[in-house]
Amino acid sequence: MKTRRSTPLIFAFLSLCVLVLWCPEHQTAIPQTMPNSDVRGRITITRAPEPEGLSRAVIDRYNLHLHRDSATATIAPKLPEFRLSERAVVYLESDLLNHGKHSPPEKHPVLDQRNLQFHPQVLPILVGTTVDFPNRDNLYHNVFSYSQAKEFDLGRYPKDDSRSVQFNKPGLVRVYCDIHAHMNATIIVLQHPYFATPNDDGTYVIHQVPEGRYSIILWIDRDRVERRSIEVRAGETTIMDFTF
């Protein structure tokens, strides 16, 4: 009796599976990764933007008695050399890419607090990734964010100590230090792994991109600075250069 009752249910389940597997929409929703479908390019910077908070002299009026290196603590560190690897990101954008399932990396990306700055200033990650926030300075920082994608407050911890945060929601996370108001960074939480941090010479590669049409975004510091359309064909390397 049991077998007779369950037979139609099993049949219906199998039919549903076949339908789902053969559905053409589903096939496009989870693109197959093809080898050698890289997106490559070079970012040429003609005018280096100043990082927010450092374009002005940041003067801490009330730290005379609190920090060891009084001179550097009174005026924020000088403008660091513009390094694309710390301040630029290239990533793809398309609804198609958001439906795939990707595992976050086992090795945690790091957002350093060093020389009264965050390093890097922009960090792209896959949703579900855990980011480490080590303090490399000989004083306290208090890393926090009130962004909708992730709210957290890590409190104060000393040099060489670290805290970790997992980012489970896609979106922008603006990160600040409660003690040093000029310190800021941006974490871009993406639903797919099709992003790249350029080398300092501006070259970048986004590996194993599925065939399709996408927007490609160049992000520098706190803002998206350029968006273009791009078509990726299976087995072909797509070149996309930016000049900013």
Partner: protein, 373 residues
């Protein structure tokens, strides 16, 4: 000699090791609040207990003239105060291999650890600790016994520390290892600063401060200040009183500790003022303290609590050996919510107990919106 000193001071102010274009920064803090105190006439009551609104604003105009020279200015205004320059200071940094820094102009004295908690966006609560805000019965002008007796509990005299303690003068400061040091010479003292009465005190006040930071998050500081505090030579009790001979002496011990989501601050100040009375000089002493804690319970949300007090010593007033003012204890607690990283809303309750006088109890409830920009 004086001319030589002036030339040296002017040379220091004009000297710039790396001339260049100044980077100018304009920033500030503003606060708007609604508050209501108990309907009394105590020194802590506001507007006789009527529900009231208030505001205050500080504009910071800073200029980095070169790597080693910066200029700071603070313009402050509130609903009870006209616009005024609270601070105008020039800092010369990293002058010698010893990394000495010099500050000249009008600046906050290196005494205590109030720091930027004097501004609403950084103040965890609404008021300042009693030692910075509460006025005692002792004025910084000569007076009579009868007047001093009538002043008790009325809050018309000097504060133990004169709010932000802004004074005219010069300061040398720096760091060596875990040690920070500062030495200032100013017109006025910590209780009677030149903020209120510029250059009206004969003689200079001096402050020495040392602080150690044995580990990140813990700073223990101590300061000693001394100098004349009486502002004029008018004396109803004796025509021969020389104000410059009455030297205020103040000692401070302060601690700041923070770790994780907890921040603790504490300060104790002992002060003595020799004061000319008709019957002879009397030593007016007071000990003041505060302990403050803040704990962030959630991102955006914190709780804060402060207890502060003033304990007055005995003097002979009206032929009776008695405290020269009524002791005060105050509790202030509240919570804060960050609407944005630069926008803070605070709800605070303050309870004040004055041990004597007409108004032994007072309280205040305040809702404040503070922003920094």
């Amino acid at each position: 000699m004086m001319k030589k000193r002036c030339i040296i001071a002017l040379s220091l102010l004009c000297w710039s090791p790396h001339p260049g274009t100044a980077q100018i920064t304009l920033s500030g803090q503003s606060a708007a609040h609604f508050f209501e105190s108990a309907p009394t006439s105590s020194p802590r009551a506001v507007n006789a207990g009527h529900p009231s609104f208030g505001w205050e604003s500080e504009l910071f105009l800073d200029a980095a003239i070169s790597d080693n020279v910066i200029a700071l200015s603070t313009v402050r205004a509130s609903e009870t105060q006209q616009i005024e320059f609270e601070q105008v200071a020039i800092r010369l940094l990293d002058l010698t291999p010893l990394h000495l820094n010099i500050q000249a102009g009008k600046f906050d004295l290196p005494f205590g650890n109030l720091g930027d908690r004097r501004y609403p966006r950084r103040n965890n609560l609404f008021s300042l600790p009693l030692i910075y805000e509460y006025r005692s019965a002792l004025p910084n002008r000569t007076s009579t016994e009868a007047t001093l007796l009538s002043y008790r509990g009325r809050g018309v005299g000097m504060r133990l520390l004169d709010q932000g303690m802004y004074a005219l003068g010069a300061m040398v400061y720096g760091s060596s290892g875990i040690l920070d040091y500062a030495l200032s010479i100013t017109s006025g003292t910590v209780s009677s600063t030149s903020y209120q009465t510029p250059n009206s005190i004969d003689g200079l006040g001096k402050v020495i401060r040392l602080a150690v930071t044995p580990m990140t998050g813990l700073t223990v500081g101590g300061a000693y200040a001394w100098g004349p505090y009486i502002v004029d030579q008018y004396s109803p009790t004796s025509p021969y009183v020389l104000p410059e001979t009455y030297i205020q002496k103040s000692a401070d011990l302060d601690v700041e500790f923070s770790r994780g989501h907890l921040a603790l601050y504490g300060e104790g100040v002992y002060t003595s003022w020799p004061f000319p009375l008709g019957t002879g000089d009397e030593e007016f002493k007071v000990f003041g303290y505060y302990c403050e804690g803040k704990y962030t319970i959630l991102p955006r949300v914190y709780l804060a609590l402060r207890v502060s007090g003033l304990r007055y010593g005995n003097v002979v007033l009206g032929a009776i050996d008695q405290p020269w003012d009524y002791n005060v204890t105050e509790w202030e607690g509240g919570c804060g919510y960050f609407v944005d990283r630069n926008v803070l809303v605070k709800l605070v309750r303050r309870e004040t107990r004055i041990q004597g006088g007409t108004f032994p109890k007072d309280n205040l409830t305040a809702l404040q919106l503070a922003v920094s920009y």
